[in-house]
């Protein structure tokens, strides 16, 4: 095939709907000078969108901006720019892409400059780097910062003390700060309404994730999954738009199941499901499509992933609860995937391998992300031991293209698929 030829990327209608939603959101963000709306910058894990919306504020997510820049092949220069400014080559590339983007005008995907935040809402949930990231942003912007410290589930449980601490911070620090920055008084009924929308969307979202238990799976829960988490992990959770999106997505997947189809890929429907995998770790964004292709061209579908739980672990039962509006926000933050200890993460992976009838666990270990990566080799050993299914390990990065080695990743994946085949043959011979 001609390497320069551009083939048309095939997308489901839900993907197109989401594209429109995201474009509208960027237009809204880049029009605040005209609309006078205030902007809060915050993170995906521990994202309090329902609360922020009570103050007519917009949510801007630096991680998502870095991902956008990664997928549009712009992050490499930004990372290097930040390194020239004195940021270490060893630290998180989301941070460096964000800082590098600022130094280059912070241009949104619609070509307009991103507004500076009026508030840095630091939800310190499951990632140490978040804390220093927002100190760095405060250093640059000099704007108001509100800290929400979410204790880590070191013992695998949420104690009443941990929950009370988060609730008190929301009530006594966050809400007054949001009122001050926005000039809007807090209305708890408005929060309840937003939470109702969240819970509805979460029901359909979980249904979609669990549809991967079908054979063939109608979705790819990692590469496709990053599209499916888009609205609920970002600026749309708690909106009617998100409810409508997940309703439409669910219908689309119901149709796929009825037609016996596999997942959508950029090259159309995946025909032959040969390997069912569980994946731990975030994807690489700079070579996202190339990475995805290594899977679908070999018939590998991801049936469950942990990355799609960083913004909330809904498939284990959590739903935003309008009857306990502040407490539910605390529970949400405390339960995000990377705020769970290693035992809990291993339990989840074991459950996924078993319940989704996967052939094994693949770990995409991300250089930038110690929150995910530290301990993954032990996690793989544990899951292998408990499930009897083979594990494999690849290494890439989030948005630094220097750390994506296509040949290495492909070699490892091909070896892994061969290993799964050999295991199958061994099982057949034994039978």
């Amino acid at each position: 095939m001609n390497a320069t030829a551009q083939t048309e990327v095939i997308k489901d209608s839900s993907m197109l709907l989401q594209k429109t939603m995201i474009a509208e959101n960027y237009d809204e963000l880049t029009s605040v000078q005209e609309t006078g709306k205030k902007v809060s910058a915050t993170f995906v894990p521990g994202n309090l969108n329902e609360l922020v919306m009570c103050f007519d504020m917009l949510n801007n997510l630096p991680e998502i901006n870095a991902i956008n820049n990664g997928m549009r092949k712009k992050s490499g220069m930004m990372v290097m720019q930040a390194e020239k400014m004195g940021h270490s080559e060893d630290v998180c590339t989301y941070v460096k892409a964000d800082i590098g983007s600022m130094s280059r005008g912070n241009i949104a995907p619609n070509g307009k400059p991103m507004p500076p935040p009026d508030l840095l809402l630091l939800s310190y949930t499951g990632c140490f780097t978040f804390m220093k990231w927002f100190e760095l942003l405060r250093h640059e912007y000099g704007c108001e910062t509100a800290m929400l410290h979410v204790p880590y589930e070191g013992d695998g449980i949420v104690t009443q003390n941990m929950r009370d601490y988060v609730v008190k911070q929301i009530k006594e620090n966050l809400i007054p700060t949001l009122e001050k920055v926005s000039g809007v008084k807090f209305d708890i009924d408005r929060l309840r309404e937003n939470l109702r929308h969240s819970a509805k969307a979460e029901d359909d979202f979980v249904w979609v994730l669990e549809s991967a238990k079908n054979k063939p799976s109608p979705i790819d829960a990692y590469f496709g999954g990053v599209y499916y988490i888009g609205p609920i992990f970002t600026a749309f959770r708690g909106t009617e738009k998100a409810v409508d999106y997940y309703k439409a997505l669910r219908k689309e997947i119901e149709q796929r199941i009825a037609e016996g189809k596999g997942p959508i890929t950029p090259e159309g429907d995946m025909k032959d499901e040969r390997y069912r995998l569980v994946v731990e770790g975030p994807p690489n964004w700079t070579n996202f499509r190339e990475f995805w292709k290594m899977f679908y061209e070999d018939g590998a579908v991801v049936v469950a992933s942990t990355y799609t739980k960083v913004g909330g672990v809904y498939d284990l039962g959590f739903r935003h609860d309008p009857d306990n509006p502040i407490e539910t926000l605390a529970d949400y933050c405390l339960g995000c995937y990377t705020n769970r200890n290693l035992s809990q993460r291993v339990d989840m992976l074991e459950k996924y391998v078993n319940e989704y009838q996967a052939d094994g666990l693949l770990i995409n270990s991300i250089k930038s992300c110690n929150s995910f990566s530290a301990g993954q080799l032990l996690m793989m050993q544990e899951v292998e031991k408990r499930t009897g299914k083979p594990g494999a390990f690849i290494e890439t990065d989030l948005v630094d293209p220097r750390y994506f080695s296509a040949a290495n990743v492909k070699n490892r994946l091909e070896s892994y698929f061969q290993m799964i085949e050999q295991k199958r043959q061994g099982a057949r011979s034994a039978a």
């Binding site: 940021h87 270490s88 110690n370």
Partner: protein, 386 residues
Amino acid sequence: MSTAEIIARCQALYDDLDFTSAREWKNADPKRKVIGYMPVYVPREIIHAAGMLPLGILGGGDQMEVIHGDAYYQSYICRIPRSTIELGLTKKLDFVDGMLFPSICDVIRNLSGMWQLMFPDTYVRYFDVPQTYQDHIAGEYYIEELKELMAGLEKLGGVTITAEALRESTAIYNENRRLINAVYDFRAKQPSKAPSVEVYLLMRAGMVLPVEEHNQVLTDYLAAAAEEERPLRDNCKIVINGAFCEQPPLNLIRSIEMAGCYIVDDDYMLINRWLLDDVPLEGDPIANLSAAFLHASADTAAKYCDRAEDVGQYLLSTVKKTGAEGVIFTAPSFCDPALLERPMLADRMDEHDVPYISFKYAENSGQMQPIREQAGTFADSIKLWS
């Protein structure tokens, strides 16, 4: 006792990766328990009040070959967790009854989970501390966390930690902090009389010795060092920042000084100086420890700085207090907290015309020539141009 004799004992403790002195302490009474802790801070007063020995675990240094530990970590993760795993798997910590993993970064946080999975018979606690500082919110949370730690130790040791025992332990650690500050003050005033390698080894001894013994060692050293005459070099005075977790090899500390830089302050074992003032002995001892943490504790990259104007002020005040002429930012490779914070600290130093350099190390770094050259050039530039 001479400084040489004192330091020889500290060096032996430092070199002993089998932790013989802590083993001997434990073996003296079958009821005794040893609680390991990693950087950067745990309230040792509580462990002491339970009749247990707090034992600082600071990795394997440059003398231990890491074989098993490397199998658990990717190349882009710092060395201290892999050498700590090595210590665990080679049974060098088999006498340790509990391990505390303080809130410092995601790697040490996740190491707590690894320890739970790998050593299920050991008491393991991820020791979370508040990153906000209001008494009625963070204080209440932290007091409960301290009580949970107490309850865990009580269960482990079959003991009750009384308020009186806590007050006594607090008094002993107050004394320890006073002596440690006295050593630091002595070195800042007369750095030629307290070489940094000696000060470092003295502080490391406090990681393994019972605090009462450490207090005696510090007292002896202060007396001996004041008496001894040593040659004064034409060195500049610098502060070390960023080395609060994975420790540099001794040769690195020595090299900096030999290259022309007297180290007049550092953050090597910050736990020794974490609480800045005496902790009050009156009232509720747990509430006092909480208030000390919230309002009078050292600043480091592992903590959230809640006011932009305060970022870097602690380092700046250290520079001013010690009369330092520059800062060496020296962080372990892949150390998220130190490396993320460094640009902000560097900007603060720029604002106040404090010269600085930066480099990275690992606990097993062996090649010192580039560091000597960099530190030497830095010292020369300060002498010639500052």
